[in-house]
């Protein structure tokens, strides 16, 4: 009699724990999806800025014509990419090329006196920062999710509910190499 009561009690506790943990996992997973879409928002913002950038500096940055063409190509690649891998590779290329452009910005005094160019430079700086921050936030929420998925005893609930650990946003290899700046 007592044994049945105790085992029913234990079973109830286990079930409650299971439901609570399952809901936590769902919550974290939705946060990961949200984090990913936030990165997407910032990347799209950059896509919209690039044509404006190229137009503004085209006449002035005479030595960077090649870089400017490559930026437009990488942008079309990113916007039309099929798989996530290819998309991220194209976005990495854009970051590298824009980095090079911003590094040589100081060499063109005509840009410094142009109000539009200054506003555009600020927009580029803030876009790169926003992309970096949203990636950082994404990694933080993925970290929370992965911890819950892998820790004991929530890993049981995770495998029953088919939650699997997600990948962190890592920098693809070419972007890690410092951009070569030739003068």
């Amino acid at each position: 009699m007592i044994i049945t009561a105790v085992s029913v009690g234990i079973l109830a506790l286990v079930l409650v724990y299971g439901v609570l943990t399952y809901n936590r996992l769902v919550g974290y997973r939705v946060e990961c999806d949200n984090g990913w879409s936030q990165i997407d928002v910032q990347l799209k913002r950059r896509h919209d800025l690039i044509p404006n950038l190229v137009e503004t500096v085209k006449g002035v940055m005479n030595f960077e014509k090649e870089t400017l063409t490559k930026v437009m190509e990488a942008r079309s690649k990113a916007m039309g990419a099929g798989s996530m891998d290819r998309r991220m590779k194209a976005e990495g290329e854009i970051s590298g090329l824009l980095g090079r452009l911003m590094a040589v910005w100081e060499n063109y005094p005509d840009l410094k006196s142009n109000q539009n160019a200054r506003a555009l430079q600020e927009e580029l700086v803030t876009t790169e920062n926003r992309i970096a921050y949203s990636r950082g936030h994404y990694n933080d929420v993925v970290s929370n999710f992965n911890t819950l998925v892998q820790q004991f005893p929530s890993n049981f609930v995770a495998s029953i509910g088919k939650f699997s650990a997600r990948q962190f946003f890592t920098v693809p290899e070419p972007e890690r190499a410092n951009p070569q700046v030739k003068f």
Binding site: S113, A119, E122, E123, T126, R130, Y133, S134, H137
Partner: protein, 534 residues
């Protein structure tokens, strides 16, 4: 408890400050319930001592717990009523205005707030401005989780982009950790004691009731003193959490150190905010000498840790020394909107009164009243003398008012006003008489900003004005009264301030608040304020 421990990393500092917060709240809660319990027990003791019956069971423990529970319920009411304040009420208590996306400085601020939203995933954060030339920043949270971050006009002028980013990271960290709500709870507990103290001190009662009310008053006075000390300790720990969390987000402890140094050395603004908002700011605007000191009183009652202690931790994380900070903050700031070159663009010589004067740029000439469409000019570097109207750029600027459709009209000349960007703000300008129209709030920004350097003649003229100015409003200005171009209401002649004694026309309608400066008045005001400030 206050100072970061030696060799502590950013993460350890943050975790330790969080643990301290929990301990302090637990202590506060215990003392709170204990004191209320004591009040109840004291009342019970005083009443019961008059009634000595052996057969009455001992209620003391029950009385104690009931009074403690009553205190708890009172605090819940306080907390609910405090949290009921919505964001608009809170912001109007601090007297903020919305940021202007067309202003170059505000645009950078708006971008930085968007970056904070990306870093913390708190959306939306309302960006607001305090129109004060002092330097400070704050963050608040209102009912329903609405958040806002605000800065003063002065802060946008004195800090560079990296420093501003670090300050906003600190404020965003406050929002991410819910510090506004925590402090509301701590202050609510403090206020419960004050409520009890007030009710107990009212009314004339005699005998036992008077004794009870005296005891209750003493206990609640003790309670509010202790609760204040604990609430301030909690506030200081949250500042340390925000410092370390902010550094984790922006990854630039040196920038935050430089920003704190600049703000603490400079003028924090005569921001008159209600006392409970002190902890919402990055440095308390009310107490400036207080948080530099070390000693018993600041240790107990300051809302923020002493700046020296905060810098110590930040500099250790930055692996830098204080002298680096001091040196870096002395060099002229790289403005957040980018340093504009001194005289941008083509300069011109102007033929005036039988002589060639100048050379000056377009932006310098137009306000000067030297130039009319028929004036002869010679662009620097060429020998060609033309009439101003014939020169493509100048001619365009001079006839800018010619098509008046849809434009606001100059109140003196009744021709269209042209738009101009001056020191990052959008103002309107009359090509004929050289007057400027400033919208509400813009004058404060221009007075704080130091982008323009003024010619020697203008400075001399301004000083001469100052020494000869009469303080009689009617006599000092010969122009008749004018109508506001924006809202068509009347404008009144006012002194800009006692310091400058320059008369400007200000729109009587306070919602519109537009200011009209005749030729040279804006320049004079800026020169006089700059020279006074040093």
């Amino acid at each position: 408890m206050l100072h970061p421990l030696p060799a502590e990393t950013v993460f350890e500092a943050r975790a330790r400050a969080k643990r301290n917060t929990v301990l302090l709240f637990a202590l506060l809660g215990l003392i709170y319930m204990g004191l209320f319990g004591l009040m109840g027990s004291a009342a019970h003791f005083i009443i019961a001592s008059e009634v000595k019956r052996r057969s009455v069971p001992d209620f003391s423990l029950l009385v104690f717990s009931c009074s403690a529970a009553a205190g708890l319920i009172l605090s819940v009411f306080q907390i609910i009523s405090a949290r009921g304040k919505n964001l608009d009420e809170l912001l109007s208590a601090i007297q903020t205005v919305p940021a202007d996306p067309k202003d170059a400085y505000h645009k950078v601020f708006l971008n930085l707030v968007a970056e904070a939203e990306a870093a913390t995933n708190i959306r939306p954060i309302r960006p607001v401005i305090i129109p004060s030339p002092g330097s400070n920043a704050f963050s608040v949270e209102g009912a329903g989780g609405q958040t806002a971050i605000g800065v003063t006009e002065g802060l946008l002028v004195h800090l560079n982009r990296a420093e501003l980013s670090a300050v906003l990271a600190h404020e965003a960290a406050h929002l991410a950790n819910g510090d506004s709500r925590l402090m509301t709870i701590a202050v609510a507990l403090l206020q419960s004691f004050e409520v009890v103290q007030n009710t107990a001190s009212k009314g004339r009662i005699r005998g036992r009731a008077a004794l009870i009310s005296v005891v209750v008053m003493i206990l609640s006075a003790v309670g509010s003193f202790v609760a204040r000390i604990l609430a301030m300790a909690i506030s200081r720990q949250r500042e340390l959490v925000a410092d370390s969390h902010g550094v984790q987000m922006c990854k630039d402890p040196l920038a935050l150190a430089q920003a704190l140094h600049k703000i603490s050395e400079g003028y924090r603004g005569s921001i008159s905010v209600p006392q409970e908002f002190g902890s919402a700011f990055i440095l308390n605007p009310a107490m400036s000498a207080f948080d530099e000191e070390e000693g018993i009183l600041p240790d107990l009652l300051a809302t923020h840790p002493p700046v020296a202690a905060r810098l110590e931790g930040l500099l250790r994380w930055a692996k830098a020394e204080l002298k680096t900070v001091v040196e870096n903050t002395k060099i002229p700031v790289a403005k957040i909107i980018g340093n504009q070159p001194q005289a941008a663009g083509q300069k011109f010589f102007v033929y005036q009164e039988g002589d060639w004067k100048g050379p000056w740029t377009e932006d310098q000439i137009l306000p000067m009243n030297l130039i009319k469409p028929s004036t002869w000019i010679c662009p620097e570097g060429s020998q060609e003398v033309v009439q101003a109207l014939e020169h493509p750029a100048l001619g365009r600027r001079l006839t800018a008012g010619a098509s008046d459709k849809g434009k606001h009209l100059c109140p003196r000349c009744m021709i269209g006003l042209g738009a101009k960007t001056y020191e990052g703000a959008n103002i309107r300008h009359c090509g004929a008489c050289g007057g400027h129209l400033l919208e509400k709030g813009v004058m404060e920004r221009l007075v704080a900003r130091r982008d323009e350097t003024f010619r020697q003649e203008a400075v001399a003229k301004a000083k001469a004005w100052r020494s000869s100015a009469t303080h009689d409003l009617q006599k000092s200005c010969l122009f008749p009264a004018i109508q506001c171009p924006l809202c068509r209401g009347p404008m009144a002649k006012v002194f800009h301030s006692d310091l400058t004694a320059v008369t400007v026309d200000r729109c009587v309608n306070s919602a519109c608040g537009a200011i009209w400066c005749d030729a040279g008045e804006l320049e004079t005001i800026q020169i006089l304020v700059e020279n006074a400030a040093g």
